[in-house]
């Protein structure tokens, strides 16, 4: 395999690639979230008529996926590389395939396939149609045409491309244990993150104070609703609170204190917040199309 990019080179290559395609290169959002889709640059910007092309790395937290650093590829904290293109260009699949070439996956040597996989996020009230992209039988990317976010129809439709960076790097570097990944020439992934996985797994499953978390959830929900009420709604800060509520819920899930029936109710509460934020966003200058910013 040509080059064998280090983990950080992989990220830099994708950044350069998508920058060259006209994407804004944003930085990760400073809030804990389960996936890059929660980044307001995706959730909110997917709505409304304004064109939007952005790419960014987003640390993704999945508290329940913690394995105390012992599983070869499961992590409670990992990186997604997310590209959001609105409206979806007609050649978006070709652009994506070009990006694979850029990171050393030559389609002439590999078997690249688009296998049906529709995406749905009950917490965001979002859904789309698309594929998981397979490279030699391995899922390396999620590719989605958004149809709905926050219960609102997307028009124009945007394309979301989500690369699982660790998985992709493991493939490119021919590595079977995530902690063995070369982060750069000196550091292994494990040197950077193994202790984090151990400590956070213990936090997620054992130590996180559930009373505090329940309170966090309630507070965030209350603050979110307050920010959206009245004449002068503030959808961006409100949406931050929605993300916080979602993460508190994920931690509570990991702590095993939410029953199956309660689970649906909590998801419904987060969705209600997300929907309200999205609706408020559409009434703002950036959410709606106002020529003076064009």
């Amino acid at each position: 395999m040509a080059g064998k990019l280090t983990f950080q080179d992989l990220i830099l290559t994708l950044q350069n690639f998508w920058a060259s395609k006209g994407c804004l290169i944003l930085q990760p959002y400073d809030n804990e979230m389960g996936a890059g889709t929660f980044h307001p640059a995706t959730t909110l910007r997917a709505l409304g008529p304004r064109p939007w092309n952005a790419a960014f790395v987003q640390p993704s937290r999945r508290p329940s996926d913690g394995r105390y650093g012992e599983n070869p590829n499961r992590l409670q904290h990992y990186y997604q590389y997310q590209v959001i293109l609105k409206p979806a260009p007609a050649n978006v699949q070709e652009m994506y395939l070009e990006s694979l070439k850029a990171i050393g996956l030559d389609p002439a040597l590999h078997d690249i396939r688009f296998v049906e996989d529709d995406w749905e996020s009950p917490t965001l009230g979002a859904a789309g149609l698309g594929w998981e992209v397979w490279c030699d039988g391995m899922e390396i990317t999620q590719f989605t045409y958004f149809q709905q976010v926050g219960g609102i129809e997307c028009d124009p439709v945007c394309a979301e491309i989500t690369y699982g960076l660790e998985r992709l790097a493991m493939y490119v570097q021919n590595i079977e244990f995530v902690y063995d990944l070369a982060f750069n020439d000196q550091f292994r992934y494990g040197e950077v993150f193994h202790q984090n996985e151990q400590e956070f797994s213990a936090f997620n499953f054992e130590r996180a104070d559930t009373e505090i978390l329940f309170q966090h959830f309630k507070d965030a929900e209350k603050q979110c609703q307050a920010l959206l009420a009245g004449e002068k709604a503030l959808p961006l800060p409100a949406y931050d609170q929605c993300i916080k509520a979602s993460h508190a819920f994920n931690l509570l899930q990991a702590r095993g204190v939410i029953s199956v029936t309660e689970r649906a109710a909590y998801i419904g509460r987060v969705r209600a917040l997300a929907q309200a934020c999205c609706e408020a966003w559409l009434k703002t200058d950036m959410g709606a199309y106002k020529p003076r910013f064009a």
């Binding site: 007609a90 688009f114 149609l129 039988g137």
Partner: protein
């Protein structure tokens, strides 16, 4: 005659939707063409990962002349209605005829249109029917355009007799170019008709027809496996799926690492199938699962597939590593020690946990075992362990391996082999083509499992409805029926009335497929809610055989006549005739004969039924045919003498009662 070629080229169409889309397109085009008076020689649609293609052959260059009569409004309808009709038909008032109908005088329009040029008509109908293609799930992708397709559509070929049929759909202007394989072909291909289109695509590494792709895959796997003295483990579902994932299937063979080969074959196979879509291979001679797999790529790689195989092997290693981990972990806890954990799994909100269910099944399995000659203790044990594998890692990962894994773990725990088999087989039969369990213990547990579900859900008010059967109760009932009937088990169903009726309904469906008349099942079932299925079936079969004989047909006619007379007279007299026939009042020889014959037959039918010799019971009935016929020939039932009349009605009632011992003939049709 000229041909139509239509190709809809899009981004990757889900494999599961391709065949249906081809069928629907064929149906829609056929409908639209015939509606417009076109006759054609042939039509065929094919589908693949990126395109849906349709060819119509022998389509005339010109539409046939159309002549149709349209019914308009009544002559006394408001002017607006008439104006509308004139506008619609493009005629004037004096071109209309008036016709008298039951609803009054109405205007009729005779429309005669000379047939138009076919391309003109096609350009009109194609863009109209494309939005009607019913994708199971479709999407929007064009700004401010509600048009939907399964994935973004990129180009359309529409040619008739080699020339483009111009129209536009979803912002795309139809033309005569397409693209070949995503990676193995460059640049657009220009085509004229289906023949050169198909050839050009083949050159561009696109195999259009799913059936051909399937054949290529099946043959390719066979050849590749044969090199290693192996063969494919048949898997039609997987074959269909992978044929929808490659435009140019290329078969490659990879190796499973030896460290995984002591993992049960079912786990390897399921993991390879569900996660990776690989075909499992087995030894040609021994049938043993081999340490190789066949994968279907969509690529002729420059290195002959080395990287692709290596990549797939690596992915598989990670998958099997997980599976092996579960398998090793699972065996550290005995199945028997897992039963308690079933308390944490809810079976159904109204029916409690899996633990409670297992307790019920165990008790029931013990009882059933006693009746069908299985060991009750072992059956109870098997039932208690039957669901324990639901708590294992492997079944958590692959739910379809429930039962199969239970057997492995039971054997590992040194449980009795029959118990282990029963754990695996108690879900059987899982479908109409699946066999019923073979062992007695497995039968006892399978019956208990299904009966518990049926009684439980019926009691909880969760009966299947016309539209839904979320708990697969029909399948469960049919399973019970098949196990009992195919093994000729003597197992009266001690269940509620409504459940027994449900069983009878299922039995009708099951027997109907074997050519048994449903009304005969009703006729037997009506007698007393027969709850012994084997006996019920035997009686129905004997009855059906009897009714096929001449005696049977005539006796049935006689019965119907008697029953009709009784019905009419009983209604008129407002009483039912059930009294004893009085010997002394029998005036005519024919009624005396019937009386004697009836007494004899009755005496014969009861013991035959008791002995469950249903053919003998039928023979006894057959003996009544002659006397019944003679009775109706010679005897007038409604005699002027009320005493004679009453006695004769009692005689007919006695005939009815005798026959009802065997079947309720009033429910027999014909």
């Amino acid at each position: 005659m000229p041909d139509l070629l239509l190709e809809l080229f899009s981004e990757e169409i889900p494999a599961r939707m391709q065949a249906g889309a081809a069928r629907d397109l064929e149906r829609l085009v056929t409908g639209a063409l015939t509606d417009r008076g076109f006759l054609f020689e042939g039509i065929k649609a094919v589908a693949g990962p990126r395109r849906l293609t349709l060819a119509v052959t022998g389509l005339p260059a010109k539409q046939g002349d159309v002549r149709e009569e349209l019914k308009g409004p009544r002559t006394d309808a408001p002017q607006a209605a008439l104006d509308g009709f004139l506008k619609k038909t493009g005629l004037t008032r004096d071109q209309l005829k008036v016709e008298k109908t039951a609803k009054g005088d109405v205007y009729m329009a005779l429309i005669e249109r000379a047939g138009r040029e076919t391309p003109q008509v096609l350009a009109e109908i194609l863009p109209e029917l494309l939005p009607k293609l019913p994708w199971p799930k479709s999407m929007r992708w064009r700004p401010s355009d509600p048009v939907r397709w399964v994935r973004p559509l990129h180009s359309i070929i529409a040619t008739f007799d080699g020339e483009v049929v111009p129209f536009s759909f979803a912002g795309i202007q139809s033309g005569n170019t397409t693209m070949g394989h995503r990676f193995l072909s460059k640049g657009p291909l220009t085509v004229r008709r289906f023949d050169d289109y198909e050839a050009a695509l083949k050159k561009a590494h696109v195999q259009l027809d799913a059936e051909e792709r399937k054949a290529v895959i099946a043959e390719g796997v066979k050849t590749a496996a044969f090199v290693h003295q192996l063969e494919m483990i048949p898997d039609e579902g997987l074959l269909n799926e992978v044929a929808g994932l490659a435009e140019w299937p290329v078969i490659l063979v990879g190796t499973i690492e030896n460290q995984f080969m002591d993992v049960p074959a079912e786990i390897l196979q399921t993991s390879m199938r569900t996660h990776q879509k690989y075909f499992s291979l087995r030894d040609l001679n021994t049938g043993k699962m081999a340490n190789r797999f066949a994968l279907v790529a969509n690529m002729i790689a420059e290195d002959g597939g080395k990287e692709i195989i290596a990549g797939n092997e690596r992915v598989l290693r990670a998958r099997l590593f997980d599976a092996k981990f579960f398998w090793d972990e699972d065996r550290k806890t005995k199945l028997a020690d897992r039963v308690d954990a079933l308390k944490g799994i809810v079976f159904h909100a109204k029916l409690g946990t899996q633990f409670e269910r297992v307790e019920r099944i165990a008790k029931l399995a013990g009882e059933v075992a006693g009746k069908i000659g299985a060991d009750p203790k072992k059956s109870e044990r098997a039932a208690r362990l039957a669901k324990a594998d639901l708590t294992t890692g492997v079944v958590g990962e692959f739910p379809e391996l429930q039962g199969v894994m239970g057997r492995y773990y039971a054997l590992h725990d040194k449980e009795d082999a029959e118990i282990a088999d029963a754990i695996r087989d108690h879900y059987k039969p899982v479908g109409p083509s699946d066999a019923v369990p073979a062992g007695k213990i497995a039968m006892a547990v399978a019956l208990a499992d299904k009966l518990d579900a049926l009684t439980g859900f019926f009691a909880a008010g969760e009966k299947p409805t016309g539209s839904g059967d979320p708990f697969a109760l029909r399948r469960a009932a049919l399973g019970v029926i098949r196990i009992v009937v195919e093994n000729k088990l003597c197992l009266p169903l001690a269940v509620s009335d409504d459940l027994l009726v449900f069983f009878a309904e299922r039995l009708k469906v099951a027997l109907k497929e074997k050519g048994v008349r449903h009304d005969l099942i009703d006729a037997i079932f009506a007698l007393g809610r027969e709850n012994d299925l084997v006996r019920l079936v035997a009686r129905v079969e004997a009855l059906q055989a009897f009714l096929k004989t001449e005696d049977g047909t005539n006796l049935l006619a006689g019965y119907k006549r008697a029953a009709n007379i009784l019905k009419a007279e009983e209604k008129q007299d407002a009483k039912t005739y059930t009294s004893e026939v009085q010997d002394g009042l029998l005036a005519v020889p024919a009624e005396k004969n019937l009386y004697t014959a009836l007494a004899k037959a009755k005496a014969g039918i009861s013991p035959a039924l008791d002995a469950e010799d249903f053919s003998a019971a039928m023979r006894q009935m057959a003996s009544l045919r002659g006397p019944v016929d003679a009775f109706f020939d010679d005897v007038k039932v409604n005699d002027e003498n009320p005493k004679l009349r009453e006695n004769r009605l009692n005689l007919l009632a006695s005939l009815r009662a005798a026959l009802h011992q065997v079947a309720d003939f009033s429910r027999v049709e014909g």
